[in-house]
Symmetry: C2
Subunit: 309 residues, 2 copies
């Protein structure tokens, strides 16, 4: 099995070494040193450049080194007809969930105010609710969304999810489709976006959504920068419709130094760190995928191109 490896990350060599150690029987070639591109079976990539797929006439699988495939789906170089598989790393999902938990605690315990008061040397107490009285709405009910919903629920929050379509109702209530979105938003004091980026979800954190939330709500975005309509967010914050936001993702990244988000008193900017990939579990997953592929078994988490994730 010939695998062309590429990542835009700076620690590509570390990943490559771990992959080689975990699966000595697979030939990993560090792109662009892949020899004859026509001999490549699988491309293992993150944010591949336009020219990567050139000449890969035998390519049978693209395994992405991340949970989101939006950048690849938008790319003009995406090879037609070749299945694309996402990376589902339980540690990364848990990390995303922790980010959401931190955001919920920061908001409901008024730590956003205390962080600001500390800057201004102000000693002032604020009352707060307890988690059972804090409704959290998680946009997204996939692997990551459900992990976050479960963690928030286990910490006492009143949690619901929103998904594209109806699912098996587990211990967490799921609102489904555009019809149920207003009701879902109306109950969400804290809104956490963990959606895939698709044509349907682009800009979902916009004017209409903010207006449908309870007044004084808090928004957490750990999905994609393109989910947010930034002018609408700033307007909702300044009008008091939103009480705060914690944003991990931006379009483009890094967030420009002149962006008003950096210094807005009600916004916490973090540098795309909500779900940093975990080497060991990611490598384990990828090697399992490649072995499945090599032995003709079904590869997991294949992207449905028409829905975009």
């Amino acid at each position: 099995l010939n695998v062309a490896f590429h990542t835009a990350w700076t620690n590509g060599e570390v990943w490559l070494a771990a992959l080689r150690a975990a699966a000595p029987e697979i030939e990993f070639r560090h792109w662009p040193d892949v020899g004859d591109p026509a001999t490549v079976d699988v491309a293992l990539v993150w944010n591949p450049p336009r020219e990567l797929f050139g000449g890969m006439s035998r390519l049978k699988l693209v395994q992405v080194l991340g949970a989101g495939v939006d950048a690849l789906m938008r790319s003009e170089v995406l090879p037609a007809g070749v299945p694309i598989a996402r990376l589902v790393d339980p540690v990364m999902s848990q990390r995303m969930a922790e980010y959401a938990l931190y955001g919920a605690l920061r908001f409901h315990r008024q730590f956003d105010r205390y962080e600001a008061q500390r800057q201004a040397t102000v000693w002032q107490r604020h009352d707060h609710l307890d988690p059972p009285d804090v409704s959290v709405g998680v946009l997204g009910a996939g692997e990551i969304g459900m992990t976050a919903a479960r963690l928030l629920q286990s910490n006492g929050y009143d949690v619901a999810c929103w998904a594209r379509s109806v699912r098996d109702p587990g211990p967490i209530s799921v609102f489904a489709g555009r019809e149920q979105l207003p009701a879902f938003l109306a109950r969400s004091r804290v809104l956490v976006c963990l959606l895939p980026l698709t044509a349907e979800t682009r800009g979902i954190l916009g004017r209409e959504t903010f207006a449908a939330l309870p007044r004084g709500a808090f928004v957490i975005n750990a999905a994609r920068g393109e989910h947010v309509d930034v002018p609408a967010l700033l307007e909702a914050l300044d009008a008091g419709q939103l009480d705060g936001a914690m944003l991990d993702v931006f379009a483009p990244e890094p967030l420009a130094a002149e962006s008003p988000l950096w210094r807005h008193p009600k916004v916490l900017v973090t540098p795309h760190v909500a779900g940093i990939s975990h080497l060991a579990t990611s490598v384990e997953y990828v090697v399992d995928q490649l072995r499945r592929f090599g032995s003709g078994e079904a590869v997991r988490n294949i992207v449905e191109r028409e829905r975009g994730y």
Copy 2:
């Protein structure tokens, strides 16, 4: 049953109304309007002034409206021989636990750095551990300490407690006594102080303790300001022995505007809000205590004066 009520809080009337509504058969008198002090059976107090107990010759119980009785124990006016009962409010314990959880997340997920980077418009990612690799040590294994330990453990942290004496080993390991303190500290990347303030624990967050922690540890104090040796804390932070601190309590309060703690880049000051009392559950507890007392049953959580809590 005649109860003299006093609190230094601004919302004493709200408490009094709730107490009267919950127990119409008990006579609550708002000090100093208690009539003949010799007819008072129980004093229900928080930070009572020197003159409160004057003339209360029939006093049989002091029920404190808080978990900590250190201020009362130090007071010269404490009536000799009268039992003192602490308030144990499960909601307050849970709130303290949430404060500790927020502190642990803030530290291990590097949010302290991101809060600072946001001030400076710096986009820089930092790697982080996952909770199973983050050892948290909780000083105190009473109601509050154990609630915090359980919440931290349920969120995946590697938790141990430290107590004055050996207890039944439950699912959380407990180190006991001065002999086991160094071993406990050596394993605590995050140290959470939830101890009662006594002669033994005063200044426990001092030079010796900080030196025994792993280098780069993080200290959370939600107990009493007198637990901290502030110059030793600042020295340990500036020397890099400690990587940060989150402090909720100070001596005296409010923390003076000129305190270096306010503006220290590695310190988050909060205004004594880790465990704000919850009216409904506190009133329920107090009424239960008073009814037990009235019917001759054992009152719970009586302070042992010689140990100080």
